[in-house]
Point group: C2
Chain length 207, copies 2
Amino acid sequence: MGIAERKEREKEDVRRKILEAAHNLFETHGYQNVTMRAVADAIEYSPTTIYHHFENKDALVEALCFADFEKLTAAMSDQPLPQNPVDRIRALGRAYSAFGIANPNHYRFMFMTAGDWKKHVNEADTPPAQSYAFLRHAVVEAMDQGFFEKDDVDLVSQILWSGIHGVVSLLITFKPGQFPHVPPRPGLIEASMEATLRGFLVSRRER
Amino acid sequence: MGIAERKEREKEDVRRKILEAAHNLFETHGYQNVTMRAVADAIEYSPTTIYHHFENKDALVEALCFADFEKLTAAMSDQPLPQNPVDRIRALGRAYSAFGIANPNHYRFMFMTAGDWKKHVNEADTPPAQSYAFLRHAVVEAMDQGFFEKDDVDLVSQILWSGIHGVVSLLITFKPGQFPHVPPRPGLIEASMEATLRGFLVSRRER
DNA sequence: GGTGATACTTAACGTTGTTAAGTCACAGCA
DNA sequence: TGCTGTGACTTAACAACGTTAAGTATCACC
């Protein structure tokens, strides 16, 4: 039964080609400015072919983003993260923001665009829920080990997430010369993270 | 010369009608889902008429957002704001987030969409620069009066802004049931603001 | 050599933002 | 009063978009 497998492989190959071409095009031109025809041209297939592999444009971008997000969660869990939960939150934040800055158009679709596909985002095994779980786990430990004051775990996690998301999304939206009044200050990401963390740390007597 | 003025007034009237219809349509259906033809239908003119008043769709939405943003800055400066700079930052944050939650589609266009029109955003008299100036001024006072540690004023202002923006944009993007793992916690906006403020307050010995 | 499935293409549909060309009312001048 | 020009508005079209119905070609299998 090697034939069916070869066909399967060939089909998967086209699918991969589509994702690859779409990845490059979306990343350089942005989701809105890339047409299905352009993706089709890039892989030298007809536009209709894409619809045999993906339901529609949104489904294509969703697959693309989920694939890229899996890269992030993989990079997060592969490398040995700091044992200290607060340092781990820092490391997670840095990985998260680096991903956003490096893939602004994918980040925009994942976290800055309302979409029906987000309905499934809170199911435990989706990439976004997974990376949230990383953060949440670190927060739990930070509280258990006395670094953070005991509080609503999800509230604190959401505040930390929204803090870093705020910086990343502003940097993506406003190019350096377009910030109101003053360009983004160097070190904004780190400083924002530190400020938010300071607000939660229980050991405020030092310094 | 009353005739020319009447004509001027009539033209301004149509312009206002367009803005009004567009405001309602954009707000309920979102920027992407409202067509120029729909706006034209709503005011019972041909689509082409809109192009005699606005260069294109983006220019229309921009005018719309600037108008709404002026409402925000007006509401900010009209009401007597707290003298205490930290309380004033709280009040500004509340007004800002209330605006975003009440006008998600305009907020999205202003702060979550990259656009060439943002080139002019850092000129001093544009609405976004004005409202940033409000915040910045409060930060300056908070430092002068010893509430905040002395630091880079714009860095601190940008952190405060991005903090509240992070929460607002997440709430706009993810509907309550679509948050990863857990819906947004009640009081998230207030708690986020307080956490960030705590990170800057110099009087950390209390509590 | 015929048959059926499967991957892909051609050609079109309806919508979109936008614009060139034309119409029509009416103020201003003779 | 009748002509004329200006400017607001419309008609009709353009190219490009996402998407799909119908058709073609390839090839494993009987």
